[in-house]
């Protein structure tokens, strides 16, 4: 019995991390990292309790009192615009006995009354009502001390609202670092900004959250096989070399990265993702630099991940096999639920001042290609599920995953006008290695 106890105690997770450290140095990782209970607990404690995690877009709560309920790890927050227009995030747990004070997903409220004993909070979090305050508490309850607990850190960048559970976290500005330059490509196309249409798709996948982040941070390589059905129907690029006409960029030390693909030289795809002329005119005025315009002009497919679990996809794609491609933008969160289990949140966004016909076409393009029923995303889910199932066994601890693409033969692109480390093609796994380097560093800290 002792032997069994020893082999399982002392932290298989810790052992896996040591192994991961050794392997990552040579571009490998143990397969078991995608489905390990101890790794998951460590991720909750060391990453999700410390990182800046995406919560919402400001357009989801435009008016005073508008709220959405969002999560960081296993904690739920009411993200609300208070009566003074300030965005706040309150921990969704009553200060008396811990009941969820808000049980709907979205709405508009001036106050939240806890259904258990009736403690009532104003939407700025202040405790304003305690039933029988005089009779039960002898008027001695210090209501000022018992407001809803604010999220330790809350900040936004170009309308993207992030939160952190760590009061000592670096600023969001520092956390995003040079990734901001790239976020500007998606979020600063117009002065009016982006808006979320409707509400996010939410669904469960029996798969590790990292597989979504890993896919979006740098994996153009999977397109031709995973999405071969869409290549055959003409919705994905036919040219097996398509990702050679791209750039593979990561932000060292921050975990963020993205791949930015343009048209092959002999294929006359329209510039700027094929956005309508109104938006192209507007982006030329609103982009913060001439380099942004130069980079965006060539783009058709862009995928990226903001460490740890926010991914962005901005692609020009068909809404069926008949109509010409339309650009669409989606933000998605790979929300960890349990070892080997995630919930995906997927938002569709569009420029607020885009023409209505375009918003509608772009929206239909999004929901038929990505999201719950998307003809691309449904095959991704199948892959990530299969990997996670395979990763749950003993042999997965011995199976080294290969992350060596482009490791020894690629030189950074000296002509790339943006920040970070860029390689002049999008067939590489430098972004993934950079992602896991921070993942490991945080888990080991």
């Amino acid at each position: 019995m002792t032997i069994y106890a020893q082999s399982r105690s002392g932290g298989e997770g810790t052992h896996l991390l040591e192994e991961a450290r050794r392997q990552l140095a040579v571009g490998e990782l143990p397969g078991a990292i995608y489905h390990d209970p101890e790794i998951f607990e460590l991720e909750m404690e060391k990453i999700f309790a410390r990182a800046w995690v995406y919560l919402a877009h400001e357009s989801e709560i435009p008016n005073a009192g508008d709220y959405v309920v969002r999560y960081i790890g296993r904690d739920s927050f009411i993200l609300i615009r208070d009566e003074n227009g300030n965005v706040r995030a309150h921990f969704n747990m009553c200060r008396h006995r811990g009941m969820q004070v808000c049980r709907s997903e979205m709405g508009n409220a001036s106050h939240f009354r806890c259904p258990y004993h009736g403690w009532t909070y104003r939407n700025d979090g202040t405790l304003v009502g305690v039933p029988a305050g005089k009779e039960a508490y002898g008027d001695r309850l210090n209501k000022e001390a018992w407001g809803l607990i604010p999220i330790p850190r809350l900040d936004q960048y170009n309308g993207m609202i992030f939160g952190s559970l760590d009061p000592k976290a670096p600023s969001l500005d520092e956390w995003l670092g040079d990734m901001k330059w790239y976020l500007d490509l998606f979020t600063r196309r117009s002065a009016a900004g982006l808006e979320v249409i409707g509400a996010p798709h939410r669904w469960m996948i029996d798969a590790d959250w990292k597989l979504g982040a890993d896919n979006f941070v740098g994996d153009a390589y999977h397109t031709l096989m995973t999405h071969r059905s869409m290549v055959e129907l003409g919705l994905a690029p036919r040219d097996p070399q398509f990702a050679m006409y791209g750039e593979h960029v990561h932000i060292p030390g921050k975990g963020h990265g993205l791949g930015m693909i343009g048209a092959p030289p002999n294929i006359p795809l329209p510039p700027f993702w094929g956005y309508p002329e109104e938006i192209v005119r507007s982006l030329k005025e609103n982009y913060p630099s001439e380099a942004h315009v130069r980079v965006a002009e060539k783009l058709n497919f862009v995928h990226g991940t903001v460490f740890p679990n926010l991914s962005i996809l901005n692609v020009m794609i068909g809404r069926d096999h008949v109509h010409p491609p339309t650009p669409m933008l989606t933000f998605r969160l790979w929300h960890p639920i349990a070892p080997g289990k995630m919930e995906v949140w997927s938002w569709f966004l569009v420029e607020k001042d885009a023409p209505e016909w375009f918003k509608e076409q772009s929206r239909l393009t999004y929901l038929r290609t990505f999201g719950t029923s998307g003809v691309f995303e449904q095959d991704d889910a199948e892959m990530w599920r299969g990997i996670t199932r395979a990763a749950g066994g003993e042999m997965a601890r011995r199976n080294r995953m290969n992350y060596q693409m482009g490791m020894d033969h690629l030189a950074p692109d000296p002509n790339w006008p943006g920040p970070g480390v860029a390689y002049p093609l999008d067939y590489a796994e430098a972004n993934q290695r950079n992602f896991y380097a921070l993942w490991l560093e945080m888990l080991e800290a």
Binding site: W203, H321, R368, Q378, D379
Partner: protein, 162 residues
């Protein structure tokens, strides 16, 4: 209006979907088919069923449904090859006349799905509100709205039709 004809239509349709006869299923649709599965969110009772007007799990027309079926005919539709085992349980059918050619049909759907050798399965429960049209070729589905009984969808993708 013949209620038995309508019932037979729905059962035949469910059979085609469960048997993977998707092209035959497409034949049951009108050219102007509207097929929608809206996103739902949790709201207080006073705000109604929480149906989101501008975002859907499906929002399809003839072209996009054909695209989804053509996809399944490729040899690379990994999400459904090997195929899910599904069973569409259609109950509580109510038929309302609309005009000479159209009826509105309400039905409850319990959709069972299992994949691979896993003994686990997913269940999706919904109400469907259909508009059927009488044509020279028999009844056809002209519109369907599927109201799911979930907010967060409990299956890994909607590579299946309701």
């Amino acid at each position: 209006m013949d209620a038995l004809e309508i019932l037979n239509f729905l059962h035949h349709e469910a059979h085609l979907l469960d048997a993977g006869k998707f092209n035959a299923w497409l034949e049951l649709l009108t050219d102007d088919i509207r097929y929608r599965v809206p996103v739902r969110v949790t709201r207080e009772r006073e705000h109604g069923p929480g149906i989101i007007d501008h975002m859907s799990h499906y929002e399809e027309d003839r072209y996009s449904l054909e695209m989804r079926i053509k996809r399944l005919e490729t040899e690379a539709a990994w999400a459904e090859d090997p195929p899910s085992r599904t069973r569409h349980f259609v109950t509580n059918v109510r038929v309302e006349p609309i005009d000479d050619r159209h009826v509105r049909v309400y039905s409850n759907l319990l959709l069972f799905r299992s994949r691979g050798d896993s003994p686990n399965f997913d269940l999706l429960s919904a109400e469907r509100v259909d508009v059927l049209r009488r044509t020279d070729g028999g009844w056809k589905l002209a519109a369907r709205e599927v109201v799911l009984d979930v907010s967060t969808v409990p299956t890994h993708n909607l590579a299946i039709l309701f």
